[in-house]
Amino acid sequence: MAPITMTNITKVYGDGYPAVNDISLDIADGEFMILVGPSGCGKSTLLRMIVGLEDITSGDMMIDGVRVNDKAPRDRNLSMVFQNYALYPHLTVYENIAFPLRLKGTPDDEIKRRVEEAATTLELTEHLQRKPAQLSGGQRQRVAMGRAIVRQASAFLFDEPLSNLDAKLRGQMRTEILRLQRRMGTTTVYVTHDQTEAMTLGDRVAVMRKGVLQQVASPRELYEQPVNLFVAGFIGSPPMNFLPATIEGGQVKLPFLSYPLPSEVASRIGDNALLIAGLRPEHFADADLVDEHKRDRGITFDVHIDVTEWLGSQQYAYVPFDAPEEITQRLAELQQELDSEHMRTQMIVSLDPSSRITDGQSAKLWLDPSRVHLFDPRNGTNLTLNLDSDRASVSAGRPAGIAAGSAPPANDASSTGADGPRRST
């Protein structure tokens, strides 16, 4: 087990394109770090530089305190899990796990000890003498993990490990990976383009865009306190709604409502008269169903409901709105960059499934304006970041004590150190 420290890591290809641009990131011993972002953001390139598959143009890559820039992959003692996880049908589970050690000439008794230890961790002990065909899909995946475990690597690396599994196995495997990491407490770096995977697995998540680190934080902090428009749009499903916000006479005017501009924001917006407001779907409510004690904290307003979707445990309503050309243009660019299929000129509202709001009618909604993020449309910076103490306390309340560093401004994320990893118990 080992910490991985990256300082000013850059990868520039022959054509001058910086695939990874000046990234500094500390991954603590035992931490589960996710690298996430849309295709082409540089996350896989960064992982490959950790493994030793890509030469590092500049910067320092340290594993367990040792600079590894010039070390061959095999000398870094890392394990790429699921990279080649073919199981051999005629070999027992034991041999399927053991044979890489045989190849290295590990003594039999040492092989036995390591395989049995891995089998205990993976709850495969009673299956060791079986053949892969006698195992369930999930058990087979655990055998493949066993092969990675017995190498006793300093860290596990996963490069989109679930992308080639069918939907059924994908969820199952996600749980297995999380369980394994928690049990073993091995430093793990996991690359994915899927924000749901990122949010459910990581102690911390590093969001990347065009080779630049945008924000490194706990899943919760990313969700509650996105540093910029890109992170806000990338994290969350259904995604955050972006609406035009006009600043006029000390008021923030959104398509359906207006509210007083918080004084802290007023000092940050400069001469911006047009901002982008970000509202999470679940921050709205059917005004008829809001608890009395909450009602006063928010505003009610009327909208025309285009479509509703009732999913049993959830209900969504879609509300179209108009936006000025410059905002529409900016949002279209963002949508393309995020590879998103969501139409940005209709608002998604999450409603209680018991709500009676129906298609084609007007409805009264409720919103707490302190939840609204305001972004600078020119550079995407979140102008409401760390504004109110309520939100700050929520973000500090991450599970189990990984300290997220200060949220960096857009396009200039610095590393955020970790006090200590979330340990297995």
Binding site: Y13, L53, D55, P73, Q83, N84, F99, D166
Partner: protein, 473 residues
Amino acid sequence: MPQLDIRLRVPTPGLLALPWLEPLADWTATEVPLRDIPVGPSRHQVRFVETDGRLWALKELPRRLAAKEYGVLRALETRSLPAVRPAGLVVQPFEDTAILLTRYLDRSWQYRRLLMRIPPDMAKHRERLLDALASLLVDLHRNGVFWGDCSLANTLFSRDGQVLQAWLVDAETSEIHPQLSAGQRQLDIDIMVENVAGGLLDLAVRLDVPESTFPSWIDEAATIAVRYQEIWEVLHAEPTFSFADRYQVEGQIRQLHDLGFVVDELSLEPAGAGDGTPVGPGAGDDKLRLKVAVGDRLFHATELRRLAGVEVSEGQARILMGDLRAYQHHLQKLAKADVPDDVAGRRWADEVFRPGMARAHRALGGIGDPVQAYCDLLEVRWLLSERAGHDVGDAAALQALAQRSLPPDSAAQMAVAETATGQQPALTPDLIRRLDEEGQVVADGGPDGLGTGPGNEKLADSMSRDRSSTENP
């Protein structure tokens, strides 16, 4: 929800008519001409369909991954690399799946087919498999392709003269780069060694060989890294020598040609001090560094096409060129004069190659590739003659081919992999021994000859003369 999107590169009626709206697993033999072809365990649904006179492989996998693999296979095709050729990509309008369609490689087979039909003590054939796989990985790496999952199971093999040609069939984990880093190559080699060890061990267990031999199977797998390095080093060597010793260039070029590689360009540059500073002539240190830009592995194939107008693969061409040269030598002896290359090439093709190919293919019951059958005939005749101490003639070799009584280590033995499963009797050590004995009888019954072993020109000449006299009485 994705829309149905059918992209076919060979838009034949049969392919268009397939039930693309159904999950691949639900396709039934009553509505689709499915074919049962044994493949190793796969993490995805794979099925085979025969339509419009061709066999197609279909693999269902997540949409994103299918599109990626399709793109990689297209890139491999553009680079003329040995890989299955992508024929289409069909995005299905449900779940998140797509079907990748590839054309099944004619006369190719899985490693298991060969190794299951040949006794486990015949390590020579396993070596041929490993050589082919190592050579494929070198080809890919030279072209910036990181495989990510190089294994015997992800490869198909076909016969190519006395060697095997390996073809990449699974590019799920592959990536194309402008150039590979040393780290990428090393990881790919490590993966290959581990996968090959797993594949061979699995087979050893399946063949029920004694457990005590497992370490030797693992050692065998480890040799594939050495095989890779040897080829890589020949291709990338940059030897230095003094200007006066520049004749050494020829040896270097011959080594590349022997491996089948074409030389695109060679340059001799001042060796310098390693810091880019050229070393001036006359300074007593006029060392030159040889750099060779190596092209495709088509040296003999190109030569044979030029001389004889015959199109064959490189491994076959290598053997046929030897045959052509021997025949040219024979013609020159008869004419007591030089016979130009093009004349010899045309006469060899008409008088030796085409009739010989037809006879050899007939002897093998019309199974497999006719050109390969002729290559087998040449090899068997050579080996039987070497064993007999004289040229045994075509007739004896043809008989040996027909009876499959072939020398155990001969490449011709690999013809056992050409027959589809079900038509092929299992080769047991007993059967081999019996066939061997029959082969000996055949060899002993041949005419007196001259040969003492491969490389013996007299034997080669005698073989050519004998063949031409049979064809042109």
